[in-house]
């Protein structure tokens, strides 16, 4: 409505999601079908400027891509993303006390805003959060008096003149070093981390508890939410995701396996077990089925950049909530409603428990989420139009416009449509990310990372 006339909308093009023509830009990763488990991508995140794109995988590795400076000659294409740094963030561990493996899989990566020349990010597995510093080195000192260039020491008695060492340029080296390790604060599996807008603290959430940390302090954290019942037999729901408000440093939300979102204010009390707001859509009890609770479980919650709205993803839909209205979402988008009549098989093959993420574009006008068969969906909040696209190597010529896909739920399948029964449920897009300022998106299939851009004329 009014957004169409805002300066931002004009920058992106009045329509947003559907007036944009998405083009293939790049694909990263191996071509072969035989996917090693370590290569399964588990998280994707742009940094605050969009210049860097980080991925985490099941093998505990982080790969960071950097956007190339825009080519002044070829000003019609944006910079490509190339490998900037890669490192092993987490190692597999063994909990001797419980006789359980601790997976090295990176569950989430979150970037800190840049304060100096170095970049910082938080990465977490099930139990431990680490703060990584990524810094560039492009100069090195030369001309020591007591050391040769190769490092060997010179005999001081052979020194006859003195010189002043100088810094000379060298080939760029990008180094990643762990600066803080935040361990031993979670009994259950960490599902979320979120950096506060104060840039000093962050939260980490597991199935039953949420902890508040200070980035400088690793030996202590405050527990701010604890939903563990005194008697575990009374357990009815778990925490599925949590996020700090983008502007209010005292506010955060957490979602549950029962489809509710609680907004908490840390000024109200030290332990935020009592929510300030409870967002829940009332359900018609006569509609309830065995699957109702499972498919209502929220797999991701994301605030809009403006902070006015939040988006939740459950199994079949994406919902936009106005923080001022708790009793129902303001918008609901069906991601793959045709799966409602397949819930039995999806339960049997465990797909019903897949945790899809969702994301906003920079202007909060379009939202995106993944689906099966390497399809992903975008919903334009202004035009109410949606589009289904596919991440596939078949369209891998740069600047090839992606063709919209259609799924035929039942009845006669039109040409170019794909029927529900032909969908490949092993090809799931769980993780997607949208550049904070431009129409560049990163879409992760099982083991490949696709980068798409809008067509620049």
């Amino acid at each position: 409505m009014f957004l169409k006339f805002s300066p931002r909308a004009m920058f992106y093009g009045a329509g947003g999601g559907n007036d944009i023509q998405w083009c293939f830009s790049q694909v990263k990763g191996a071509v072969d079908d035989d996917v090693a488990e370590a290569d399964i991508i588990s998280t994707v995140e742009f940094n605050h400027s969009g210049e860097l794109l980080a991925t985490g995988d099941k093998g505990g590795r982080v790969v960071i891509f950097q956007q190339e400076q825009e080519n002044k000659i070829q000003s019609h294409s944006r910079g490509e993303y190339n490998v900037y740094s890669t490192f092993q963030s987490h190692e597999p561990e063994f909990d001797y006390l419980k006789s359980l493996e601790i997976e090295e899989k990176i569950n989430k990566i979150r970037w800190l805003p840049q304060k100096n020349a170095a970049q910082f990010l938080l990465s977490t597995n099930d139990k431990t959060i680490k703060l990584w510093k990524i810094s560039e080195r492009d100069k090195r000192p030369e001309g020591y008096n007591l050391k040769e260039e190769d490092g060997r020491f010179r005999d001081p008695t052979t020194v006859t003149t003195l010189r002043v060492p100088v810094f000379r340029p060298m080939d760029l080296m990008v180094e990643a070093s762990p600066r803080r390790i935040f361990a031993n604060a979670h009994t259950y599996h960490i599902n979320s981390i979120s950096i506060n807008s104060d840039y000093e603290t962050y939260l980490s959430a597991d199935d039953l508890r949420i902890n508040l940390w200070h980035l400088e302090i690793t030996d202590r954290s405050f527990n701010i939410v604890d939903i563990k019942p005194a008697n575990m037999e009374e357990l009815t729901e778990v925490i599925t995701a949590a996020e700090f408000h983008p502007n209010s440093c005292n506010t955060f939300v957490y979602s549950s396996s029962k489809g509710t979102i609680r907004l908490c204010d840390m000024r109200a009390s030290a332990l935020c077990d009592r929510h300030s707001k409870l967002f829940e859509e009332p359900e018609d009890p006569s509609n309830r089925s065995f699957f109702s609770e499972i498919i209502s479980s929220i797999s991701d919650v994301k605030f809009s950049h403006s902070g006015r709205y939040m988006m939740t993803r459950d199994y079949l839909s994406v919902k936009i909530w106005d923080l001022n209205m708790e009793n129902r979402p303001v918008e609901t988008y069906q991601v793959h409603e045709y799966l409602r009549s397949k819930l039995c098989s999806l339960y049997e093959n465990d797909c019903i428990f897949d945790k899809f993420e969702c994301c906003w574009n920079g202007s909060d006008s379009v939202v995106m989420t993944g689906s099966y068969n390497n399809f992903f969906r975008m919903f334009d909040r202004n035009t109410k139009r949606d589009i289904t696209l596919e991440a596939s190597r078949e369209n891998n010529k740069p600047r090839t416009v992606l063709k919209p896909r259609k799924v035929c739920a039942s009845g006669k399948r039109k040409k170019d449509e794909i029927s529900v029964d032909s969908l490949d449920f092993n090809k799931k897009i769980l993780h997607t990310a949208w550049h904070p300022k431009e129409n560049i998106i990163a879409v992760a299939t099982t083991n490949n990372l696709y980068i798409f851009q809008d067509k620049v004329n």
């Binding site: 190692e91 037999e233 089925s289 065995f290 949606d386």
Partner: protein
């Protein structure tokens, strides 16, 4: 849910049925699916959201004490992690897996339990793949 929210502009078809019909039949597909599931697994617990179900989710890797029939694996945890009896059991299992993956493996340094007294140097560092991610390749 109100009708208004369900309506999407049908201009961009995704193959879904007209929203109105879908809305009315929305109850039926889910119930039909539930009936299918109950037919296959008659002793399935009534509510999947109960504490048993969630407990399984919290304790990834625990088997046993299941209220589900044997044909249905504990749900909601994703890949079930195996629970090991102790660290020796764990190291043995990892060694076996490593043997399968690396055909060129030499004398098995991983089997430190049982044959000789292990020293800190002997204990296998359970390193994940030392290979660089293929995304960076």
């Amino acid at each position: 849910m109100s009708q208004k929210q369900e309506e999407e502009n049908p201009a961009e078809e995704t193959g879904e049925e007209k929203q109105d019909t879908q809305e009315k039949e929305g109850i039926l597909p889910e119930r039909a699916e539930e009936a299918k599931l109950k037919a296959k697994y008659p002793s399935l617990g009534q509510k999947p959201g109960g504490s048993d179900f969630l407990m399984k989710r919290l304790q990834k890797g625990v088997r046993g004490t299941i209220s589900y029939p044997l044909t249905l694996e504990p749900k909601g945890m994703g890949p079930v992690e195996q629970k090991y009896f102790d660290s020796g059991d764990y190291n043995m299992a990892k060694a076996k897996m490593k043997n399968k993956q690396l055909p060129s493996a030499g004398p098995d340094k991983n089997l430190v339990t049982g044959d000789h007294i292990p020293t800190p140097q002997d204990l296998p560092q359970r390193k994940s793949s030392l290979v660089t991610s293929k995304l960076a390749g």
